[in-house]
Structures are given as structure tokens and as C-alpha cells.
């Protein structure tokens, strides 16, 4: 297979060929990224024809590097279509129909179609597989009823990855199916969900007699959990991103705030105690960064260890402590909340000053140990999957889903 032998230099040549055909500084996002897809430079590890070249994913950094060298305009996948690109595309590639691969992947990459993920429900948080949204087959359609929650970007999404229960008589993990939901279907009601910061990053979705065509299923009926695992695995990889710069990220803001504090705001003893605490947080931030570098090196060497799984737990807990400490640095000023709590959708760069950023992040970071797997679930995963400790006795695994006790 000649694809596997494409060299770094050949990749760079392909990028330069792309740039001759369409240059991001001169065309719009959809056009340029469409061409990038056609050249196999969207996600180089995907097969040819689906936006890739069938080569190692590591080569993607070469593409980014060469684009960066030759163009001022750069696009950030995570800003354009985080869920579509991060989770939707790999799921479509692995479990999608030929129609889906041909018609959806390119529009995911260009950002023409924003995607969202419809797994969590009010009654199914840590226990995603306990979900209750029902899909009943009616002729050529599935009729869906239920409620989803924590759905990022749903209000601007074209497609949703929907996990629903198709067989309540089967045990919980084997009674679900995975659907591609047209978010513009009648019966899909998207409402903003306001959070502790007063913003609505997330949505609640009410599904009432929504019709999903039978060919919009991904994977087989009853095997939705398997497909969901693909999606979730890619979620965890997306969250595990490291701050690559020493002293950057949250700890950088904290140290800056500390260094620029008003002189003699507190007693000398107070300042010394705070200094030790900040130094401790600096150390842990550095070690998290290094542990991420080790994880990256191990993955590169084809030898992934536990370092990666550790990051999510450590980062969530560390972030909370850093922003708590930042509030203590700010002192009395932390009583004041200039951003206000106006109910609205968040925008990028909302909080330009370090002071406002700290106040905002102090609140926002509380979700870090909940979203994408609570710290309690992460500790279970570390204990069971990494250390090999036995699971708890489960009363909900081998009985029909409908007989499992659940919250109202």
C-alpha cells in the first residue's frame, strides 16, 4: 500500500498543491476547507475519498505546520465544529452507512453542518446506559420521545448523534440503538440551559413524536452502545488536551494575578501562606503538563500507559483548586462580580482581563469534575481498568432495562 509510505515531504508538497488551488487568505472557510478535504488533508489518517490519505495521524501536525507557514488565516477544528470533527466524523467513518460517509464527512469538516451529541438525560448522567428516551419502529420511521440534556451546540446544530432505547425488555446495554437525528425535524425542541455562570453553554432537548427515517440508524438495531463507545472514546481523547507551555493556562493566570497584586494587601504571614499554596499549585500544574507529555510520548511509541487516563481526573480537580486560590488572591474584590449573571449564550473572549477571567473560571470550573465523566466515575475507571480492581456487584446488568429502579 503506497499510501503508507507517503513521506513528510510529500505531505508538505500536497499542502502546497492545495494552497495553489485555494488559499485560506483569499477564499472563505467552506470553500477552502472543502478543497482541503478533497486533497485528503482534512484528517490524514482517514481513507482516501473521505478527507484523508490513509496515513499515520501523527502526520496531521505536518499539515498544520505547513499551512501555518504559508497562510495567515488558520482554522481551529475545535472552534469550527468540535463535536462534529472530534466525535461525529470518527463515528460516521466506523459505523456510518455509505450514504453518510459520502454526504456528511465533507460538510462536517467545512463546518457547514454543526453536530451535537444526544446521550445524557436528566435521569441518566453518570449512568448513560440507563437512558430512557424511547424509539419505536413505525413503518419506515422510528418515532422518538424523550428528553436529552447537556447538549452543547444543539441550538446551531444540523445533525445530532442520538442514543435511544429501542428494546426496554433487553438488558440496559443491549436495548439501545444509535440514530442520526436531523435537528430540524418537527418535534425537536431545543431550549437553553442556564448554568452557574448565568450563561447557557448547554441545551435541553425535548423530543416529541420525532420521526427518524429507518436508514438513519448507525450500527445495528440494539447495538447502539457499541457505536456510542466509539463516540465517547473520541470525547475523552478530545478532553485530555494538555497545556503545552510551561506555566501557561490556568496556573499562568494565577501566577500573574499573584505577581500583580496590590502591595501589602494582606499581612506578611498571609502572603507567605498563599505563596506556598500557589507554589504547590504551580508544581502540580507542571506535573500534569509533564504527565501529558509522557502520555503523548507513550502513544507515539505505540505503548499507551495509564498517564492519559490520569489527566482528566487530575486536571478537573486541579483546575478547581487553582481558581479557588485565584479568588483568595483577589481578596475582597472577589465579592464583586462585574461580568454579571445575564442569561445569555457565551461568546469567545468574553473575559479579557485576568481578573474577570479568574472570577468567571472560578464558577465555570466547578463543572470540570462533572462533565465528560465525574471525578467519581474517573476514579472507578482508573481503579478498574488501569489497576484491575474488581467492579462493584451490579444489580442492573442482566435484567430487563424496564425492571431497573430509576429516578422519577
Amino acid at each position: 500500500m503506497p499510501e503508507h509510505q507517503i513521506t513528510e515531504e510529500e505531505v508538505r508538497e500536497r499542502v502546497r498543491a492545495l494552497l495553489k488551488e485555494a488559499h485560506p487568505d483569499k477564499t472563505d472557510q467552506f470553500t477552502f476547507r472543502g478543497k482541503q478535504f478533497d486533497h485528503g488533508l482534512a484528517w490524514v489518517h482517514f481513507p482516501k475519498g473521505y478527507g484523508g490519505l490513509g496515513i499515520s495521524p501523527g502526520m496531521q501536525t505536518i499539515v498544520a505546520d505547513e499551512l501555518h507557514r504559508n497562510a495567515k488565516t488558520t482554522y481551529d477544528d475545535m472552534a469550527i465544529n468540535p463535536i462534529g470533527i472530534g466525535m461525529g466524523a470518527p463515528t460516521v467513518l466506523t459505523h456510518g452507512t455509505e450514504w453518510m460517509k459520502t454526504n456528511l464527512l465533507r460538510r462536517i469538516f467545512t463546518g457547514e453542518d454543526i453536530w451535537c451529541q444526544l446521550f445524557s438525560e436528566p435521569g441518566a448522567g453518570s449512568d448513560v446506559a440507563g437512558l430512557a428516551t424511547r424509539a419505536v419502529r413505525e413503518g419506515d420511521y422510528w418515532k422518538v420521545n424523550g428528553q436529552k440534556v447537556w447538549t452543547t451546540l444543539a441550538h446551531v446544530s444540523r445533525w445530532g448523534m442520538l442514543l435511544a432505547r429501542t428494546n426496554p425488555d433487553a438488558p440496559k446495554h443491549s436495548g439501545m440503538s444509535y440514530f442520526l437525528l436531523d435537528m430540524k425535524s418537527p418535534g425537536v425542541d431545543v431550549r437553553p440551559l442556564y448554568q452557574i455562570t448565568g450563561e447557557a453553554e448547554f441545551n435541553e432537548i425535548f423530543l416529541t413524536d420525532v420521526q427518524v427515517p429507518a436508514d438513519r440508524i448507525m450500527g445495528k438495531e440494539g447495538e447502539g452502545w457499541k457505536v456510542a463507545i466509539t463516540t465517547l472514546m473520541n470525547e475523552r481523547t478530545a478532553i485530555g488536551g494538555a497545556t503545552a507551555r510551561r506555566g501557561g493556562g490556568a496556573i499562568g493566570v494565577l501566577v500573574d494575578l499573584w505577581k500583580s497584586r496590590a502591595p501589602a494587601m494582606y499581612s506578611a504571614a498571609h502572603e507567605t501562606v498563599m505563596r506556598d499554596r500557589i507554589t504547590r499549585l504551580y508544581i502540580e500544574s507542571e506535573l500534569l503538563r509533564m504527565t501529558n507529555l509522557r502520555a503523548r510520548a507513550a502513544r507515539k511509541a505505540g505503548n499507551p500507559g495509564p498517564e492519559g487516563s490520569v489527566a482528566k481526573l487530575a486536571q478537573a480537580e486541579l483546575n478547581k483548586r487553582i481558581w479557588e486560590c485565584a479568588m483568595d488572591v483577589i481578596g475582597g474584590e472577589s465579592l464583586v462580580y462585574e461580568p454579571g449573571f445575564a442569561r445569555r449564550r457565551p461568546a469567545a473572549n468574553d473575559h479579557p482581563s485576568r481578573l474577570l477571567q479568574a472570577k468567571y473560571q472560578f464558577l465555570r470550573s466547578r463543572a470540570n469534575s462533572i462533565e465528560g465523566g465525574t471525578s467519581e466515575v474517573m476514579r472507578n475507571i482508573l481503579g478498574e481498568r488501569v489497576l484491575g480492581l474488581p467492579g462493584e456487584p451490579r444489580g442492573d446488568k442482566d435484567i430487563p432495562w424496564k425492571n431497573i429502579p430509576r429516578s422519577a
Binding site: L193, S267, L335, I370
Partner: protein, 371 residues
């Protein structure tokens, strides 16, 4: 040391809780926190006249109930549970405490009955800087102007500073610190409500530009003012203990009813042990708050400052931790605006700063113990 409450005190607690169950529901709290003044005058009036809560610790001769800091602490603990929105700390604790400790007999006779009756909302303006509250470093100045005084300076983070009718302000006339009464409508007085992290407690910034005021103290008030702040610190700790206890209750209740994996989440040790640790903190917080209130009420004890430092440093951390764990136990739901968990979390954060943060309190305590 006595660590039990009388039957009357227990009855008072029950009365306050019943009252707040009706008048400080979550719905009420959410309504009031969006208003500028942050309280309901009708409820305040009932608290003052029907329940005598506002003048609890004001002697009977000044129109109060003649009780002590123990009762005030019990009431505040209940208010903390209910996230009560109202000028209790400013009016009933700080202002009346300062009057009793620093003011002339005439001023007491004039202001205390109005406070006890609910007619006057009052506050005490001391802090000027965002950091350490250092009474010796206060800069706000007073200059004689005929029979009255002109005040110049800025007071920051004044509790209910934008809504109080009377502001008692600590200002320096030459070297000596005195207490002044300043009408909210006095010329030269600028009031700016601050946008607060904790919407349930209002703060203001008050600028005095030659604001006209009346001097109501005779000797230097540095010592009695510090004593007043120690009292308020102790009472605020009681509020925090109540808040922490309520967070534990909410978390426990949720853990009993929320099912995941076919079981109540409270049957998982990860959640159960969090709750157990919160319980230890809540009981310690109560002990700390009660001890400080007893110290404030017992004239034979001379350890109010130390007891208040212990109480406030511990209760601040306990309340914050319980409020944070309550969010965590509620999962995504605890992170939403519609769930009350965040209101306690913000209250916990804000109250940990007022009158000094835990490290400051420990610093003061260590100094007093020679540690």
C-alpha cells in the same frame, strides 16, 4: 463550658425556622436577589415586630428583646440555612452592635428603638481596601463643621450600603477613631451598589465627599469597634454553619432519591463518605459557632476574638467545602442556574471573605496564642 441551649432558645430556633420556611422559600430568595435592595420590607417588619428578631440582642430599655448573642447566633444559623435575604447582619448585628459598644447614651436611645422596631435599616461602614481589615490603618477623615461633621473618604464592601437609611461610619478626627451617623440622603454622600458574586447579600461602595454627619461616640472607638466586628464575625460564622448544614441536607436528600445504575447514589461509598465527611464538618462548624456566640454572650469570658477567629476560619472552609460537594453530588443538575446549589456556593465564597479570610483569622489566632 456550657454547650446546651435552654428550652426557650430551642423554641426560638423552631419559631425562626417555621417563619423562614414560609417567608424565605427558594422562590422568594430568587425574587429578592434580583432586586436592588435585596429584601422584602413587609417580611422585615414582621421579623422586627412579630418575632422581635431584629432587636434580639438589644436591651429592653432600647426597645429590644434583651437577649444575647446566643439567640442572635441561633437565628442567624437558621437564616443561613434558608439563604435569607435581608439586612440582618448589617442592621441587627453590626449597626446595633456598634451602637451598643461605641455610641453615646443619647445615640443609643435615638437609634436602637428605631432599629429594633424595624423602622430603620442601618449599616456600619468600616473597610476601605479589598484586603486585610486593619482598624488602625483606616483613613476616612472627619472634620468639625459647627455642630456637625464633614466626612471624607471611601468605604468599600459596605453591607447593604446602597439601601440602608442610616450609615454608621468609622472615621478619624485627627488621630482618634470616632463613630458618626450619616443619613443616607446627606449631601456629599455617594452610594454605588456593587454587582455581587453572591446575589443574596447586597454590598455598596460609599464615597463621602464632605458628607454631613453627626458624631455619636466620645472616646476612641478602636477597641469597641474591634469587639463589634468580632461579634459580627461570630454571628456570620453561625450563618455559615447553617448554610453548611443545609448543603449537607440537600446533598443527603438527593443521594437518597437519585438512582443511577439501579441504586440510590447515596449507597455508593464515593457519595456516602463525602456526606460523612460533610457531617463531621457541619458538627465542627456548629461547635465553633456556638462557642463563639457563648463567648460573645458571657461577660466573664475574654476570648471572643479568639473564638470568633476559630469559628470564622473553620466555618468558612466548612461551608465552602459543603457547598462545593453539594454541587458535585448533584452532578450536572447542581451546576444549573435553576437548582439552588449555586446560590449556597456563591454565598459560601462571599461570606468567607467578609471580615477577613480564613488565613487571616488563623494568623490573628496564632498571634494571640503565641504560636
Amino acid at each position: 463550658m456550657e454547650f446546651s441551649f435552654t428550652a426557650e432558645q430551642e423554641e426560638l430556633r423552631k419559631t425562626v425556622r417555621r417563619f423562614l420556611d414560609n417567608e424565605s422559600t427558594e422562590q422568594t430568595v430568587r425574587k429578592l436577589m434580583e432586586t436592588p435592595s435585596g429584601y422584602d420590607p413587609r417580611v422585615w417588619q414582621r421579623m422586627a415586630s412579630e418575632l422581635s428578631l431584629v432587636g434580639l440582642a438589644i436591651p429592653e430599655q432600647y426597645g429590644g428583646a434583651g437577649l444575647s448573642a446566643v439567640e442572635t447566633g441561633l437565628a442567624m444559623e437558621e437564616m443561613g440555612r434558608a439563604l435569607f435575604c435581608g439586612p440582618y447582619l448589617s442592621t441587627a448585628v453590626l449597626a446595633s452592635g456598634a451602637l451598643l459598644r461605641c455610641a453615646s447614651e443619647a445615640a443609643k436611645k435615638r437609634f436602637l428603638p428605631e432599629i429594633a422596631s424595624g423602622k430603620t435599616i442601618a449599616t456600619l461602614a468600616v473597610a476601605e481596601q479589598p484586603g486585610h481589615l486593619d482598624i488602625a490603618a483606616l483613613k476616612t477623615s472627619a472634620k468639625r463643621d459647627g455642630s456637625s461633621y464633614k466626612i471624607d473618604g471611601i468605604k468599600n464592601f459596605v453591607l447593604d450600603g446602597a439601601s440602608a437609611g442610616v450609615i454608621f461610619v468609622a472615621a478619624r478626627e485627627g488621630g482618634a477613631l470616632s463613630l458618626f451617623a450619616c443619613d443616607a440622603n446627606a449631601s456629599g454622600l455617594g452610594r454605588e451598589p456593587l454587582p455581587t458574586l453572591d446575589l443574596t447579600r447586597k454590598l455598596g461602595r460609599i464615597s463621602f465627599s464632605g458628607a454631613s454627619a453627626e458624631k455619636i461616640s466620645s472616646a476612641d472607638i478602636s477597641a469597641p469597634l474591634a469587639d463589634t466586628i468580632a461579634l459580627a464575625t461570630a454571628i456570620l460564622a453561625a450563618e455559615q454553619a447553617g448554610g453548611a448544614a443545609r448543603c449537607l441536607d440537600m446533598a443527603t436528600e438527593y443521594a437518597k432519591t437519585r438512582l443511577q445504575f439501579g441504586r440510590a447514589i447515596g449507597s455508593f461509598q464515593a457519595i456516602k463518605h463525602k456526606c460523612a465527611d460533610m457531617l463531621v464538618e457541619v458538627e465542627f462548624a456548629r461547635s465553633a459557632a456556638y462557642n463563639a456566640a457563648f463567648a460573645a454572650a458571657d461577660s466573664s469570658r475574654d476570648d471572643l476574638a479568639a473564638a470568633a477567629d476559630i469559628a470564622k476560619s473553620y466555618c468558612s472552609e466548612a461551608f465552602f467545602h459543603c457547598a462545593a460537594e453539594n454541587i458535585q453530588i448533584h452532578g450536572g443538575m447542581g451546576f444549573t442556574w435553576e437548582h439552588p446549589a449555586h446560590l449556597y456556593f456563591k454565598r459560601a465564597r462571599a461570606s468567607s471573605v467578609i471580615f477577613g479570610d480564613p488565613i487571616e483569622h488563623r494568623d490573628k489566632l496564632a498571634a494571640s496564642l503565641g504560636i
